[in-house]
Amino acid sequence: MADLRISGLHKYYGSMHAVKGIDLEIPSGEFTVLVGQSGCGKSTLLRTIAGLEEIDQGTVQISGQTVNDLAPKDRDIAMVFQNYALYPYMKIFDNIAFGLRARKVEKTEINKKVDHVSKMLSIDHLLDRYPRQLSGGQLQRVAIGRAIVREARIYLFDEPLSNLDAQLRDEMRGEIKRLHKELGKTMIYVTHDQIEAMTMADRIVLIRDGKIEQQGTPSDLYDRPKTKYVAGFLGSPSMNFITARVVTQGLGYGLILENTAAQLKMPENVSQRIGEYLGSNILIGIRPEHFSLNNESKPEDSGTTIEVSIDLVQPTGARTYVSFKIGQVTAVAELNPRDIRQNESNLTLNVDVNRCVLINKDTEFSI
């Protein structure tokens, strides 16, 4: 059963159309990540679910009940905010207990719950302190504690990790994921960070310009993006897009990369789809990890390799990023550092043609 159902949702700020007709169903117990660039309307969407923004058109239903006109307090949701939103004049204990007190929970019960949650988040030694005495990571734990102590129906997270430094972010990502597993509650998480989306989500909803661009599991969006935008948004470094002309090759079709002599032979299942583009230009999207080094040429590699001259080598330890030009376009390949010899200036790269994405140049939809 869907815990949350949004249909035909619109939101305006004056003449600004922030949310442009969103339909979304979120099943019970799922961890859904709303991801998109800043200003795409994802936070607005979250706030309309919470009841902090009025809905101009459409409905929001929680467990089958339409909540459009329900005050935030009556929607049985809990929320974690980007800037923690802790009350500076209250001790940590009182901050966590704040929501329980609003609901007139008994004092002994409050003590029990705060104790339980603070132990779960390892903040039980901080209960007597004030927010100003805590570090950013600790503050975010408290903010999460304040939300989960409530035992709400739906938990909302509004970019909770973007104020933390990289290392803490990695740590907290795991922590939130673990909490979701333990609690089994419906969680909706807003972020602009595609890595957070990929690592945490059961389902990603990618929002662009007030509309849903694509939704599905992380691997759905990563491996089978519906549009160029989705393909480019997920993955770091992002996908390389190269213009290519469809030509016949053998019994099937191949692609000649723009401004190069390189020709890639498309496998049979792909060939079927690009026949209609014969003679015209399309985009081929290759993820950095779909390049590999061709050390000894094997016959099965024929037609799927390209020669490149190295522009820049960026080692990160585990992987090395090599940039080069394909025609006019700068592309990046992610390679095994052991494979790259020093002072090498030219490489022959295999392209995993089975996994690359082909995109209609005009509509920007994938083919």
Binding site: R47, A50, G51, L52, A71, P72, K73, R75, I77, A78, M79, F81, Q82, N83, A85, Y87, P88, Y89, F98, G99, A102, R103, R132, R146, R150, L156
Partner: protein, 276 residues
């Protein structure tokens, strides 16, 4: 050694400057207090008497015996009540302007412009109105006017303090189960407590120190101490003893309020300039 000497000299110079300034500022207050404790002869004596031979409380005794001291009570009632009203109304108005954009973007500017009207320009129209409504020389009349006159100041100040409160604090409380009014009480008020106190003090002082409204709109029943002081200026002679004793009575409440609330006052005024 030379550097240390130079440093000591500089510190000494600063200290001396501070002492001179303090004396300069405190002298009128000292003089006011001294006059209130002097006999009539001592007041007019030349060369002036710096310290009366014995402290005379007769000037105060007269004020209490004749009931004149009650005007300080009137001032307290009028200034205190109007401050409470102005703070409650003004803070809720400010919250509404900030959160719900009530009145558009420029209402706050228009409101503060009302505070800049010279009192003398409105006091006579108000007087005529009050005569019609029978509000002259009543507590209600003065409280109403002071509340109205201070409201723009409160709205303007509180608007600034409320603007500084991150909206997510309110959102968190709303989601956690509180109503708007509870949010105002449990989040907004505690968050701008220093600002509330500072604004309340200034509002109180405005009403406390007002002379022109009280002069025109009161007779005998609710005359404030500022009006009462003028009664001691006569055609023939001025009762300096009474004037100064009354002035001291009028100064003391403000003195205590500022002394006790200094912490909030300073923090309230500097709020926004330095966060934290």
């Amino acid at each position: 050694m030379n550097a240390k000497l130079k440093k000591n000299f500089k510190t000494g110079l600063r200290l001396a400057g501070a002492v001179v300034l303090t004396i300069l500022f405190l002298f009128p207050i000292y003089w006011l207090f001294m006059i209130s404790f002097k006999t009539a002869d001592e007041i007019y004596a030349y060369p002036p008497v710096w310290w009366p031979e014995s402290l005379q409380f007769s000037n105060y005794a007269v004020l209490f015996k004749d009931g004149d001291a009650a005007t300080v009570g009137n001032s307290l009632i009028v200034a205190g009540t109007s401050t409470v009203f102005a703070m409650i109304l003004g803070t809720t108005c400010a919250y509404s302007i900030v959160r719900f954009k009530t009145g558009g973007d420029h209402l706050a500017n228009w409101i503060i412009s009302q505070r800049m009207i010279p009192p003398i320009a409105i006091v006579f129209p108000v007087f005529i109105l009050y005569v019609w409504f029978g509000l002259v020389d009543t507590y209600f009349g003065l409280i109403l006017l002071y509340t109205a006159f201070n409201l723009p100041y409160v709205i303007w100040m509180m608007r600034g303090y409320i603007l500084d409160i991150p909206i997510s604090l309110e959102h968190a409380a709303l989601v956690d189960g509180y109503t708007r009014w509870q949010v105002l009480w449990k989040v907004i008020f505690p968050m701008c407590r220093a600002g509330l106190f500072a604004t309340a003090i200034f509002t109180f002082v405005f009403a406390w120190n007002d002379f022109i409204f009280a002069l025109v709109l009161t007779r005998t029943e609710v005359a404030t101490y500022t009006v009462q002081v003028t009664h001691y200026f006569g055609g023939q002679s001025n009762f300096w003893g009474k004037i100064s004793a009354m002035s001291v009575l009028g100064t003391l409440p403000i003195f205590f309020i500022v002394a006790f609330m200094q912490k909030y006052l300073v923090r309230g005024i500097s709020l926004g300039a330095v966060k934290g």
